[in-house]
Protein backbone atom coordinates (compact mmCIF):
# COMPACT_ATOMS: atom_id res chain seq x y z
CA UNK A 1 0.00 0.00 0.00
CA UNK A 2 1.04 3.60 -0.50
CA UNK A 3 1.78 5.57 2.61
CA UNK A 4 -0.52 8.57 2.16
CA UNK A 5 0.79 10.36 5.24
CA UNK A 6 3.79 11.82 3.43
CA UNK A 7 3.31 14.51 0.76
CA UNK A 8 5.03 12.26 -1.79
CA UNK A 9 2.80 9.31 -0.94
CA UNK A 10 -0.34 11.37 -1.45
CA UNK A 11 1.03 12.73 -4.68
CA UNK A 12 1.69 9.26 -6.04
CA UNK A 13 -1.73 8.01 -4.99
CA UNK A 14 -3.32 10.79 -7.07
CA UNK A 15 -0.96 10.28 -9.96
CA UNK A 16 -1.90 6.62 -10.31
CA UNK A 17 -5.51 7.55 -11.01
CA UNK A 18 -4.66 8.92 -14.46
CA UNK A 19 -3.80 6.05 -16.83
CA UNK A 20 -2.49 8.37 -19.55
CA UNK A 21 -0.05 9.98 -17.14
CA UNK A 22 1.06 6.58 -15.85
CA UNK A 23 1.62 5.41 -19.44
CA UNK A 24 3.57 8.60 -20.21
CA UNK A 25 5.66 8.19 -17.08
CA UNK A 26 6.36 4.57 -18.03
CA UNK A 27 7.41 5.80 -21.46
CA UNK A 28 9.72 8.42 -19.99
CA UNK A 29 11.18 5.84 -17.63
CA UNK A 30 11.68 3.39 -20.50
CA UNK A 31 13.39 6.02 -22.65
CA UNK A 32 15.64 7.10 -19.79
CA UNK A 33 16.51 3.46 -19.10
CA UNK A 34 17.25 2.75 -22.78
CA UNK A 35 19.26 5.96 -23.02
CA UNK A 36 21.33 5.12 -19.97
CA UNK A 37 21.89 1.56 -21.18
CA UNK A 38 22.62 2.65 -24.77
CA UNK A 39 26.26 1.47 -24.83
CA UNK A 40 25.10 -1.97 -23.68
CA UNK A 41 22.18 -2.51 -26.03
CA UNK A 42 23.10 -0.54 -29.16
CA UNK A 43 24.35 -2.85 -31.94
CA UNK A 44 27.02 -0.33 -32.89
CA UNK A 45 29.01 2.52 -31.37
CA UNK A 46 27.99 5.42 -33.63
CA UNK A 47 30.80 7.64 -32.28
CA UNK A 48 33.48 5.17 -33.36
CA UNK A 49 34.12 6.57 -36.80
CA UNK A 50 36.54 3.76 -37.57
CA UNK A 51 33.71 1.20 -37.25
CA UNK A 52 31.60 2.89 -39.91
CA UNK A 53 31.63 1.82 -43.49
CA UNK A 54 30.49 4.07 -46.30
CA UNK A 55 29.34 0.94 -48.11
CA UNK A 56 26.49 0.81 -45.58
CA UNK A 57 25.49 4.44 -46.11
CA UNK A 58 21.83 5.37 -46.61
CA UNK A 59 20.55 1.81 -46.47
CA UNK A 60 16.84 1.33 -45.79
CA UNK A 61 15.49 -0.34 -42.64
CA UNK A 62 16.03 -4.07 -42.61
CA UNK A 63 19.30 -3.97 -44.55
CA UNK A 64 21.98 -6.39 -43.40
CA UNK A 65 25.20 -4.40 -43.32
CA UNK A 66 28.87 -5.25 -43.45
CA UNK A 67 28.80 -5.72 -39.67
CA UNK A 68 26.66 -8.80 -40.21
CA UNK A 69 23.60 -7.57 -38.30
CA UNK A 70 20.28 -6.12 -39.40
CA UNK A 71 19.99 -2.29 -39.44
CA UNK A 72 16.45 -2.21 -38.04
CA UNK A 73 15.95 1.48 -38.77
CA UNK A 74 18.36 1.76 -41.65
CA UNK A 75 21.59 3.75 -41.79
CA UNK A 76 22.51 7.40 -42.28
CA UNK A 77 24.76 9.11 -44.81
CA UNK A 78 27.90 8.03 -42.95
CA UNK A 79 26.78 4.43 -42.72
CA UNK A 80 25.79 4.69 -39.06
CA UNK A 81 23.21 2.27 -37.73
CA UNK A 82 20.27 4.62 -37.07
CA UNK A 83 18.91 2.65 -34.11
CA UNK A 84 22.27 2.96 -32.37
CA UNK A 85 22.53 6.62 -33.28
CA UNK A 86 19.04 7.28 -31.92
CA UNK A 87 19.79 5.45 -28.68
CA UNK A 88 22.97 7.47 -28.22
CA UNK A 89 21.12 10.61 -29.30
CA UNK A 90 18.44 10.03 -26.67
CA UNK A 91 21.22 9.60 -24.16
CA UNK A 92 22.55 13.04 -24.99
CA UNK A 93 19.04 14.57 -25.01
CA UNK A 94 18.12 13.12 -21.61
CA UNK A 95 21.49 14.06 -20.16
CA UNK A 96 21.35 17.63 -21.39
CA UNK A 97 17.67 18.04 -20.56
CA UNK A 98 18.10 16.86 -16.98
CA UNK A 99 21.36 18.69 -16.43
CA UNK A 100 20.21 22.01 -17.89
CA UNK A 101 16.76 21.73 -16.25
CA UNK A 102 18.29 20.82 -12.89
CA UNK A 103 20.91 23.53 -12.84
CA UNK A 104 18.44 26.14 -14.10
CA UNK A 105 16.00 25.03 -11.39
CA UNK A 106 18.62 25.33 -8.65
CA UNK A 107 19.89 28.72 -9.79
CA UNK A 108 16.53 30.18 -10.76
CA UNK A 109 14.65 28.98 -7.67
CA UNK A 110 17.36 30.23 -5.31
CA UNK A 111 17.42 33.62 -7.00
CA UNK A 112 13.64 33.98 -7.07
CA UNK A 113 13.07 32.90 -3.49
CA UNK A 114 15.93 35.01 -2.17
CA UNK A 115 14.67 38.05 -4.08
CA UNK A 116 11.18 37.58 -2.67
CA UNK A 117 12.44 37.17 0.89
CA UNK A 118 15.06 39.90 0.83
CA UNK A 119 12.94 42.55 -0.89
CA UNK A 120 14.29 46.02 -1.52
CA UNK A 121 17.19 46.55 -3.89
CA UNK A 122 18.01 42.83 -4.26
CA UNK A 123 14.44 42.13 -5.33
CA UNK A 124 14.36 44.99 -7.82
CA UNK A 125 17.72 44.14 -9.33
CA UNK A 126 17.19 40.39 -9.72
CA UNK A 127 13.63 40.53 -10.91
CA UNK A 128 14.18 43.34 -13.43
CA UNK A 129 17.06 41.38 -14.98
CA UNK A 130 14.79 38.34 -15.12
CA UNK A 131 12.00 40.37 -16.71
CA UNK A 132 14.39 41.79 -19.24
CA UNK A 133 15.57 38.33 -20.14
CA UNK A 134 12.08 36.92 -20.39
CA UNK A 135 11.25 39.50 -23.03
CA UNK A 136 13.69 37.75 -25.42
CA UNK A 137 12.84 34.35 -26.89
CA UNK A 138 14.89 31.65 -25.15
CA UNK A 139 16.07 30.27 -28.50
CA UNK A 140 17.59 33.61 -29.46
CA UNK A 141 19.54 33.88 -26.24
CA UNK A 142 20.69 30.26 -26.47
CA UNK A 143 21.76 30.78 -30.08
CA UNK A 144 23.84 33.84 -29.27
CA UNK A 145 25.43 32.15 -26.26
CA UNK A 146 26.31 28.95 -28.13
CA UNK A 147 27.76 31.06 -30.94
CA UNK A 148 29.88 32.90 -28.37
CA UNK A 149 30.89 29.93 -26.23
CA UNK A 150 31.52 27.45 -28.99
CA UNK A 151 30.56 23.79 -29.36
CA UNK A 152 30.58 21.19 -26.63
CA UNK A 153 28.33 19.70 -24.00
CA UNK A 154 29.33 22.06 -21.19
CA UNK A 155 28.89 25.12 -23.38
CA UNK A 156 25.50 23.89 -24.54
CA UNK A 157 24.31 23.27 -20.98
CA UNK A 158 25.57 26.70 -19.93
CA UNK A 159 23.66 28.34 -22.77
CA UNK A 160 20.47 26.42 -21.95
CA UNK A 161 20.73 27.25 -18.24
CA UNK A 162 21.27 30.93 -19.02
CA UNK A 163 18.26 30.89 -21.30
CA UNK A 164 15.98 29.06 -18.88
CA UNK A 165 16.81 30.00 -15.30
CA UNK A 166 14.61 33.09 -15.69
CA UNK A 167 11.44 30.98 -15.95
CA UNK A 168 12.28 29.29 -12.67
CA UNK A 169 13.20 32.58 -11.03
CA UNK A 170 9.90 34.15 -12.07
CA UNK A 171 7.87 31.17 -10.84
CA UNK A 172 9.80 30.85 -7.58
CA UNK A 173 9.46 34.58 -6.97
CA UNK A 174 5.70 34.46 -7.51
CA UNK A 175 5.24 31.51 -5.19
CA UNK A 176 7.59 32.90 -2.56
CA UNK A 177 5.93 36.34 -2.38
CA UNK A 178 2.69 34.52 -1.53
CA UNK A 179 4.33 32.10 0.93
CA UNK A 180 6.52 34.58 2.78
CA UNK A 181 3.49 36.38 4.16
CA UNK A 182 2.27 33.23 5.86
CA UNK A 183 2.53 32.71 9.58
CA UNK A 184 4.92 29.77 9.46
CA UNK A 185 7.58 31.99 7.88
CA UNK A 186 6.92 34.58 10.56
CA UNK A 187 7.14 31.84 13.17
CA UNK A 188 10.52 30.76 11.80
CA UNK A 189 11.80 34.34 11.79
CA UNK A 190 10.49 34.79 15.32
CA UNK A 191 12.34 31.78 16.74
CA UNK A 192 14.78 33.25 15.47
CA UNK A 193 16.27 31.04 12.76
CA UNK A 194 18.97 32.20 10.36
CA UNK A 195 17.88 33.82 7.11
CA UNK A 196 19.41 31.03 5.05
CA UNK A 197 17.48 28.48 7.06
CA UNK A 198 14.18 30.32 6.70
CA UNK A 199 14.68 30.68 2.95
CA UNK A 200 15.99 27.22 2.11
CA UNK A 201 14.30 25.04 4.73
CA UNK A 202 10.89 26.71 4.92
CA UNK A 203 10.28 29.06 2.01
CA UNK A 204 11.82 27.04 -0.82
CA UNK A 205 10.21 23.64 -0.06
CA UNK A 206 6.81 25.32 0.02
CA UNK A 207 7.45 26.91 -3.37
CA UNK A 208 8.32 23.55 -4.92
CA UNK A 209 4.94 22.50 -6.38
CA UNK A 210 4.81 25.19 -9.11
CA UNK A 211 8.56 24.79 -9.63
CA UNK A 212 8.22 21.06 -10.28
CA UNK A 213 5.57 21.82 -12.88
CA UNK A 214 7.83 24.36 -14.58
CA UNK A 215 10.75 21.94 -14.30
CA UNK A 216 8.99 19.18 -16.26
CA UNK A 217 8.04 21.65 -18.97
CA UNK A 218 11.51 23.15 -19.05
CA UNK A 219 13.25 19.78 -19.25
CA UNK A 220 11.16 19.06 -22.34
CA UNK A 221 11.98 22.55 -23.57
CA UNK A 222 15.71 22.17 -23.12
CA UNK A 223 15.60 18.87 -24.99
CA UNK A 224 13.77 20.63 -27.81
CA UNK A 225 16.16 23.60 -27.65
CA UNK A 226 19.17 21.32 -27.79
CA UNK A 227 17.67 19.53 -30.80
CA UNK A 228 16.97 22.87 -32.46
CA UNK A 229 20.51 24.13 -31.89
CA UNK A 230 21.97 20.85 -33.14
CA UNK A 231 19.68 20.96 -36.14
CA UNK A 232 21.06 24.40 -36.91
CA UNK A 233 24.55 22.97 -36.52
CA UNK A 234 25.36 24.93 -33.37
CA UNK A 235 24.96 22.23 -30.75
CA UNK A 236 27.32 19.31 -30.40
CA UNK A 237 30.23 18.34 -32.66
CA UNK A 238 29.37 16.38 -35.82
CA UNK A 239 31.26 13.36 -34.53
CA UNK A 240 28.73 12.94 -31.71
CA UNK A 241 25.40 13.32 -33.47
CA UNK A 242 22.44 14.12 -31.24
CA UNK A 243 18.84 13.73 -32.37
CA UNK A 244 18.67 17.24 -33.80
CA UNK A 245 21.77 16.68 -35.90
CA UNK A 246 20.54 13.31 -37.15
CA UNK A 247 17.33 14.97 -38.33
CA UNK A 248 19.34 17.72 -39.94
CA UNK A 249 21.67 15.22 -41.66
CA UNK A 250 18.76 13.30 -43.13
CA UNK A 251 16.90 16.40 -44.17
CA UNK A 252 18.53 16.59 -47.60
CA UNK A 253 17.53 13.00 -48.41
CA UNK A 254 13.87 13.43 -47.49
CA UNK A 255 12.79 14.22 -51.04
CA UNK A 256 14.79 11.35 -52.52
CA UNK A 257 12.75 8.77 -50.64
CA UNK A 258 15.30 8.08 -47.88
CA UNK A 259 12.85 9.25 -45.26
CA UNK A 260 14.19 7.10 -42.39
CA UNK A 261 17.29 9.15 -41.69
CA UNK A 262 15.22 12.13 -40.56
CA UNK A 263 11.93 10.54 -39.57
CA UNK A 264 13.01 7.98 -36.99
CA UNK A 265 15.12 10.36 -34.89
CA UNK A 266 12.22 12.83 -35.18
CA UNK A 267 9.76 10.23 -33.91
CA UNK A 268 12.05 9.41 -30.99
CA UNK A 269 12.32 13.11 -30.13
CA UNK A 270 8.57 13.66 -30.35
CA UNK A 271 7.74 10.61 -28.24
CA UNK A 272 10.17 11.77 -25.55
CA UNK A 273 8.93 15.36 -25.48
CA UNK A 274 5.24 14.44 -25.60
CA UNK A 275 5.67 11.87 -22.82
CA UNK A 276 7.43 14.40 -20.59
CA UNK A 277 4.73 16.98 -21.29
CA UNK A 278 1.95 14.50 -20.48
CA UNK A 279 3.62 13.73 -17.17
CA UNK A 280 4.00 17.49 -16.64
CA UNK A 281 0.29 18.08 -17.28
CA UNK A 282 -0.70 15.55 -14.66
CA UNK A 283 1.80 16.99 -12.19
CA UNK A 284 0.38 20.45 -12.81
CA UNK A 285 -3.21 19.30 -12.38
CA UNK A 286 -2.34 17.63 -9.12
CA UNK A 287 -0.25 20.39 -7.63
CA UNK A 288 -2.69 23.15 -8.55
CA UNK A 289 -4.62 23.85 -5.33
CA UNK A 290 -7.56 25.23 -7.29
CA UNK A 291 -8.14 21.93 -9.04
CA UNK A 292 -8.18 19.80 -5.89
CA UNK A 293 -11.22 17.62 -5.71
Amino acid sequence: MIDTSTPLGRFWAGFRENPVAVAALTMVAAIVLVAVAAPLIAPQDPYDLGGLSLLDARRPPGHVGSGGYVHLLGTDAQGRDLLSAILYGLRISVQIGLLAGGVALAIGASLGVTAAYAGGIVETLVMRIVDLQLSFPAILLALVLVALLGQGKAQLVTALVAAQYAYFARTAYGAATAERRKDYIEAATATPLSRARVVFRHLLPNCMPPLIVVATVQIANSIALEATLSFLGLGLPVTEPSLGMLISNGFVYMMSGRYWISVYPGVALIVLIVAINLVGDQVRDQLNPRLHR
Partner: protein, 341 residues
Protein backbone atom coordinates in the same frame (compact mmCIF):
# COMPACT_ATOMS: atom_id res chain seq x y z
CA UNK B 1 6.43 46.46 41.69
CA UNK B 2 9.93 45.03 41.35
CA UNK B 3 12.16 45.89 38.40
CA UNK B 4 10.09 45.26 35.30
CA UNK B 5 10.89 42.05 33.46
CA UNK B 6 9.65 43.31 30.13
CA UNK B 7 9.55 47.00 29.43
CA UNK B 8 8.31 48.83 26.37
CA UNK B 9 9.44 52.40 26.06
CA UNK B 10 7.52 54.70 23.74
CA UNK B 11 7.00 52.08 21.04
CA UNK B 12 5.79 53.52 17.76
CA UNK B 13 5.29 51.45 14.66
CA UNK B 14 4.33 52.99 11.35
CA UNK B 15 3.85 51.16 8.09
CA UNK B 16 5.00 53.13 5.07
CA UNK B 17 3.21 52.18 1.89
CA UNK B 18 5.53 50.46 -0.57
CA UNK B 19 5.08 52.39 -3.76
CA UNK B 20 6.00 50.86 -7.05
CA UNK B 21 8.14 52.97 -9.36
CA UNK B 22 5.16 54.11 -11.43
CA UNK B 23 3.30 55.32 -8.35
CA UNK B 24 6.38 57.14 -7.12
CA UNK B 25 6.74 58.97 -10.40
CA UNK B 26 3.03 59.74 -10.42
CA UNK B 27 3.30 61.13 -6.88
CA UNK B 28 6.23 63.33 -7.95
CA UNK B 29 4.15 64.67 -10.80
CA UNK B 30 1.41 65.59 -8.40
CA UNK B 31 -1.04 62.72 -8.86
CA UNK B 32 -2.99 61.69 -5.80
CA UNK B 33 -1.24 58.55 -4.63
CA UNK B 34 -1.89 57.12 -1.17
CA UNK B 35 1.48 57.59 0.52
CA UNK B 36 0.45 58.32 4.09
CA UNK B 37 1.94 55.91 6.61
CA UNK B 38 -0.37 53.74 8.69
CA UNK B 39 0.17 54.46 12.35
CA UNK B 40 -0.45 51.05 13.85
CA UNK B 41 1.08 51.68 17.26
CA UNK B 42 1.76 55.11 18.74
CA UNK B 43 3.92 55.85 21.79
CA UNK B 44 3.07 52.75 23.79
CA UNK B 45 4.94 52.29 27.05
CA UNK B 46 4.20 49.48 29.43
CA UNK B 47 5.85 47.03 31.75
CA UNK B 48 5.23 43.42 32.64
CA UNK B 49 6.54 41.89 35.87
CA UNK B 50 8.07 38.43 35.98
CA UNK B 51 5.44 35.70 36.05
CA UNK B 52 2.66 38.10 35.25
CA UNK B 53 0.16 37.77 32.43
CA UNK B 54 -0.89 40.98 30.74
CA UNK B 55 -4.02 40.84 28.62
CA UNK B 56 -4.09 43.15 25.62
CA UNK B 57 -7.55 43.85 24.23
CA UNK B 58 -9.09 46.03 21.60
CA UNK B 59 -11.14 45.95 18.42
CA UNK B 60 -9.66 44.50 15.28
CA UNK B 61 -7.36 47.02 13.64
CA UNK B 62 -6.40 48.75 16.88
CA UNK B 63 -2.76 47.70 16.63
CA UNK B 64 -2.69 45.00 19.28
CA UNK B 65 -1.26 42.37 16.95
CA UNK B 66 1.34 44.83 15.66
CA UNK B 67 2.35 45.59 19.24
CA UNK B 68 2.55 41.85 19.93
CA UNK B 69 4.77 41.35 16.91
CA UNK B 70 7.05 44.18 18.01
CA UNK B 71 7.35 42.59 21.46
CA UNK B 72 7.99 39.20 19.86
CA UNK B 73 10.82 40.67 17.81
CA UNK B 74 9.14 39.93 14.49
CA UNK B 75 8.71 43.57 13.54
CA UNK B 76 11.25 46.20 14.47
CA UNK B 77 9.60 49.26 16.02
CA UNK B 78 9.82 52.52 14.07
CA UNK B 79 10.97 54.11 17.31
CA UNK B 80 11.18 53.09 20.97
CA UNK B 81 12.79 50.08 22.62
CA UNK B 82 11.67 46.70 23.90
CA UNK B 83 13.84 45.40 26.73
CA UNK B 84 13.61 42.00 28.32
CA UNK B 85 15.53 41.85 31.59
CA UNK B 86 17.32 45.00 30.47
CA UNK B 87 18.46 43.54 27.15
CA UNK B 88 17.05 44.49 23.76
CA UNK B 89 14.86 42.00 21.91
CA UNK B 90 15.73 43.35 18.50
CA UNK B 91 18.91 44.96 17.21
CA UNK B 92 19.44 46.39 13.72
CA UNK B 93 16.15 44.92 12.62
CA UNK B 94 17.14 41.38 13.66
CA UNK B 95 15.80 39.49 16.64
CA UNK B 96 18.68 38.78 18.99
CA UNK B 97 17.07 36.76 21.77
CA UNK B 98 15.27 33.44 22.10
CA UNK B 99 13.73 34.41 25.42
CA UNK B 100 10.58 35.68 23.76
CA UNK B 101 8.53 33.14 21.81
CA UNK B 102 5.22 33.44 20.04
CA UNK B 103 2.02 31.43 19.66
CA UNK B 104 0.15 32.58 16.57
CA UNK B 105 -3.54 32.91 15.94
CA UNK B 106 -4.07 30.47 13.13
CA UNK B 107 -2.55 27.04 13.72
CA UNK B 108 -3.43 26.13 10.13
CA UNK B 109 -1.01 28.78 8.88
CA UNK B 110 1.67 28.85 11.56
CA UNK B 111 3.01 25.31 11.05
CA UNK B 112 5.13 24.59 7.99
CA UNK B 113 2.97 22.12 6.01
CA UNK B 114 6.03 20.33 4.64
CA UNK B 115 7.65 19.48 7.96
CA UNK B 116 6.88 16.68 10.39
CA UNK B 117 5.71 18.10 13.68
CA UNK B 118 8.70 16.53 15.46
CA UNK B 119 11.00 18.53 13.20
CA UNK B 120 8.90 21.65 13.69
CA UNK B 121 9.32 21.42 17.46
CA UNK B 122 13.00 20.37 17.29
CA UNK B 123 14.22 22.92 14.75
CA UNK B 124 14.60 25.93 17.04
CA UNK B 125 16.13 24.07 20.00
CA UNK B 126 18.70 22.39 17.72
CA UNK B 127 19.57 25.68 16.00
CA UNK B 128 20.11 27.37 19.36
CA UNK B 129 21.85 24.53 21.16
CA UNK B 130 19.04 23.74 23.61
CA UNK B 131 19.09 20.14 22.42
CA UNK B 132 21.68 18.23 20.44
CA UNK B 133 20.63 16.45 17.26
CA UNK B 134 20.95 13.14 19.10
CA UNK B 135 18.82 14.25 22.05
CA UNK B 136 16.24 16.01 19.93
CA UNK B 137 13.77 13.10 19.52
CA UNK B 138 13.56 12.61 23.29
CA UNK B 139 13.33 16.34 23.86
CA UNK B 140 10.48 16.58 21.36
CA UNK B 141 8.64 13.61 22.87
CA UNK B 142 8.86 15.27 26.25
CA UNK B 143 7.36 18.54 25.00
CA UNK B 144 4.65 16.84 22.96
CA UNK B 145 3.47 14.92 25.99
CA UNK B 146 3.58 18.07 28.11
CA UNK B 147 1.14 19.80 25.78
CA UNK B 148 -1.10 16.74 25.84
CA UNK B 149 -0.17 15.13 22.53
CA UNK B 150 0.84 11.52 21.97
CA UNK B 151 4.67 11.61 21.58
CA UNK B 152 4.35 9.03 18.80
CA UNK B 153 2.75 11.75 16.64
CA UNK B 154 6.19 13.31 16.09
CA UNK B 155 6.49 11.70 12.66
CA UNK B 156 3.20 13.08 11.37
CA UNK B 157 2.50 16.13 9.27
CA UNK B 158 0.40 19.13 10.39
CA UNK B 159 -2.47 18.31 8.02
CA UNK B 160 -3.11 15.13 9.97
CA UNK B 161 -4.16 17.10 13.03
CA UNK B 162 -7.21 19.08 14.12
CA UNK B 163 -7.04 22.79 14.88
CA UNK B 164 -6.78 22.24 18.62
CA UNK B 165 -4.02 19.67 18.21
CA UNK B 166 -2.14 21.96 15.86
CA UNK B 167 -2.32 24.75 18.38
CA UNK B 168 -0.85 22.34 20.93
CA UNK B 169 2.01 21.72 18.50
CA UNK B 170 2.48 25.48 18.13
CA UNK B 171 2.57 25.85 21.92
CA UNK B 172 5.09 23.00 22.17
CA UNK B 173 7.24 24.67 19.53
CA UNK B 174 7.21 27.95 21.45
CA UNK B 175 7.84 26.38 24.87
CA UNK B 176 10.58 24.03 23.61
CA UNK B 177 12.68 27.17 23.13
CA UNK B 178 12.46 27.61 26.94
CA UNK B 179 11.29 31.22 26.71
CA UNK B 180 10.78 33.57 29.63
CA UNK B 181 8.08 35.51 27.83
CA UNK B 182 5.36 34.05 25.69
CA UNK B 183 3.48 36.33 23.28
CA UNK B 184 0.11 34.76 22.53
CA UNK B 185 -1.53 36.49 19.57
CA UNK B 186 -5.20 35.50 19.68
CA UNK B 187 -4.22 31.89 20.33
CA UNK B 188 -7.79 30.61 20.56
CA UNK B 189 -9.64 32.97 18.23
CA UNK B 190 -9.67 30.55 15.31
CA UNK B 191 -10.68 27.49 17.34
CA UNK B 192 -14.08 26.02 18.17
CA UNK B 193 -15.44 27.18 21.50
CA UNK B 194 -15.16 23.71 23.04
CA UNK B 195 -11.53 23.49 21.95
CA UNK B 196 -10.84 27.04 23.16
CA UNK B 197 -11.50 25.95 26.75
CA UNK B 198 -9.05 23.03 26.43
CA UNK B 199 -6.32 25.24 25.03
CA UNK B 200 -6.91 27.92 27.66
CA UNK B 201 -6.71 25.31 30.42
CA UNK B 202 -3.53 23.84 28.93
CA UNK B 203 -2.12 27.33 28.78
CA UNK B 204 -2.99 28.10 32.41
CA UNK B 205 -1.52 24.78 33.53
CA UNK B 206 1.75 25.27 31.66
CA UNK B 207 2.04 28.83 32.86
CA UNK B 208 1.75 27.71 36.46
CA UNK B 209 4.19 24.86 35.93
CA UNK B 210 6.84 26.92 34.13
CA UNK B 211 6.30 30.30 35.81
CA UNK B 212 6.29 31.92 32.41
CA UNK B 213 5.51 35.59 31.79
CA UNK B 214 2.92 36.25 29.16
CA UNK B 215 1.49 38.88 26.86
CA UNK B 216 -1.95 37.62 25.93
CA UNK B 217 -3.54 39.37 22.98
CA UNK B 218 -7.24 38.83 22.34
CA UNK B 219 -10.40 40.57 21.31
CA UNK B 220 -12.36 38.15 23.47
CA UNK B 221 -12.95 39.97 26.76
CA UNK B 222 -14.08 36.85 28.61
CA UNK B 223 -10.97 34.89 27.68
CA UNK B 224 -8.75 37.79 28.72
CA UNK B 225 -10.50 38.13 32.05
CA UNK B 226 -9.97 34.44 32.69
CA UNK B 227 -6.22 34.37 32.04
CA UNK B 228 -4.85 37.85 32.83
CA UNK B 229 -3.49 39.42 35.99
CA UNK B 230 -3.59 42.85 34.41
CA UNK B 231 -5.34 44.15 31.30
CA UNK B 232 -4.40 46.87 28.84
CA UNK B 233 -7.05 48.28 26.51
CA UNK B 234 -5.90 49.60 23.16
CA UNK B 235 -7.69 51.97 20.85
CA UNK B 236 -6.26 53.07 17.52
CA UNK B 237 -2.66 52.36 18.42
CA UNK B 238 -2.66 53.76 21.93
CA UNK B 239 -3.27 52.27 25.34
CA UNK B 240 -6.28 54.01 26.86
CA UNK B 241 -6.51 52.12 30.14
CA UNK B 242 -4.33 49.63 31.95
CA UNK B 243 -4.69 48.04 35.37
CA UNK B 244 -5.54 44.98 37.43
CA UNK B 245 -8.03 42.73 35.62
CA UNK B 246 -10.71 42.61 38.29
CA UNK B 247 -10.60 46.36 38.96
CA UNK B 248 -11.05 47.16 35.29
CA UNK B 249 -13.83 44.68 34.69
CA UNK B 250 -15.64 45.78 37.86
CA UNK B 251 -15.23 49.48 37.37
CA UNK B 252 -13.96 50.61 33.97
CA UNK B 253 -12.93 54.27 33.88
CA UNK B 254 -12.20 55.10 30.25
CA UNK B 255 -15.37 55.65 28.23
CA UNK B 256 -14.03 53.27 25.59
CA UNK B 257 -13.41 50.50 28.12
CA UNK B 258 -16.90 51.04 29.47
CA UNK B 259 -18.39 50.81 25.99
CA UNK B 260 -16.31 47.73 25.17
CA UNK B 261 -17.32 45.90 28.34
CA UNK B 262 -20.91 47.00 27.81
CA UNK B 263 -20.98 45.29 24.43
CA UNK B 264 -20.14 41.81 25.73
CA UNK B 265 -23.25 39.65 25.35
CA UNK B 266 -24.41 38.22 28.66
CA UNK B 267 -25.46 34.63 29.08
CA UNK B 268 -27.64 35.19 32.14
CA UNK B 269 -30.08 38.08 32.05
CA UNK B 270 -31.49 39.99 34.99
CA UNK B 271 -35.25 39.59 35.48
CA UNK B 272 -36.62 42.38 33.33
CA UNK B 273 -33.47 43.24 31.40
CA UNK B 274 -34.00 43.96 27.74
CA UNK B 275 -31.77 41.97 25.44
CA UNK B 276 -30.12 45.02 24.01
CA UNK B 277 -26.44 45.81 24.03
CA UNK B 278 -24.84 49.17 24.43
CA UNK B 279 -23.04 49.50 21.15
CA UNK B 280 -20.22 51.85 20.39
CA UNK B 281 -21.46 54.29 17.80
CA UNK B 282 -19.53 54.58 14.58
CA UNK B 283 -16.61 52.72 13.12
CA UNK B 284 -13.02 52.71 14.26
CA UNK B 285 -11.39 55.62 12.35
CA UNK B 286 -8.74 54.98 9.73
CA UNK B 287 -5.23 54.77 11.14
CA UNK B 288 -4.15 56.63 8.00
CA UNK B 289 -5.80 59.75 9.33
CA UNK B 290 -6.45 59.41 13.05
CA UNK B 291 -8.67 62.17 14.47
CA UNK B 292 -6.83 64.96 16.29
CA UNK B 293 -6.79 65.08 20.06
CA UNK B 294 -8.12 61.98 21.77
CA UNK B 295 -8.58 59.49 18.94
CA UNK B 296 -11.75 58.20 20.57
CA UNK B 297 -13.55 61.56 20.72
CA UNK B 298 -15.71 61.12 17.56
CA UNK B 299 -17.33 58.08 19.17
CA UNK B 300 -17.15 59.17 22.81
CA UNK B 301 -20.43 59.92 24.61
CA UNK B 302 -18.79 62.28 27.13
CA UNK B 303 -16.25 64.09 24.94
CA UNK B 304 -15.53 67.73 25.80
CA UNK B 305 -13.71 70.48 23.94
CA UNK B 306 -10.25 69.46 25.22
CA UNK B 307 -10.69 65.97 23.74
CA UNK B 308 -10.79 67.43 20.25
CA UNK B 309 -7.53 69.30 20.68
CA UNK B 310 -5.16 67.53 23.04
CA UNK B 311 -3.98 63.95 23.11
CA UNK B 312 -4.66 62.64 26.63
CA UNK B 313 -1.74 61.00 28.41
CA UNK B 314 -1.96 58.06 30.79
CA UNK B 315 -2.20 59.24 34.39
CA UNK B 316 -2.31 57.28 37.63
CA UNK B 317 -5.88 56.68 38.65
CA UNK B 318 -7.06 54.71 41.67
CA UNK B 319 -5.66 51.26 42.64
CA UNK B 320 -2.58 51.21 40.40
CA UNK B 321 -4.53 51.84 37.29
CA UNK B 322 -3.68 54.24 34.50
CA UNK B 323 -6.21 55.96 32.27
CA UNK B 324 -5.78 58.26 29.28
CA UNK B 325 -8.91 60.43 29.35
CA UNK B 326 -9.40 64.19 29.81
CA UNK B 327 -12.85 63.78 31.31
CA UNK B 328 -11.69 61.23 33.86
CA UNK B 329 -8.67 63.43 34.67
CA UNK B 330 -10.95 66.38 35.40
CA UNK B 331 -13.20 64.20 37.57
CA UNK B 332 -10.16 63.03 39.53
CA UNK B 333 -8.91 66.59 39.96
CA UNK B 334 -12.30 67.66 41.27
CA UNK B 335 -12.42 64.69 43.66
CA UNK B 336 -8.97 65.37 45.13
CA UNK B 337 -9.83 69.06 45.53
CA UNK B 338 -12.99 68.10 47.44
CA UNK B 339 -11.00 65.64 49.51
CA UNK B 340 -8.38 68.19 50.50
CA UNK B 341 -10.91 70.94 51.15
Amino acid sequence: MTAPFLSLDAITRRFEPRLILGDRIAARLGARVENRPVRAVTEVSLEIAKGETLGLVGESGCGKSTLGRVVAGILPPTSGTVLIDGKPVIEHGRKVTTRVQTVFQDPYASLDPRMRIGDIVAEGPIAHGLASKADAPGYVRDWLSRVGLDPDFAGRYPHQFSGGQRQRVAIARALAMQPDLLVCDEPVASLDVSIQAQIINLFLELRRELGITCLFISHDLRVVRHVSDRVAIMYLGRIVEIGATEAIYRDPQHPYTRALLGSVPKLVLEDDELVRFETISGEIPSPLAPPPGCTFHPRCPVAVEACRREVPVLFDDSDGRMVACHVRAMERAAMTKEGSA
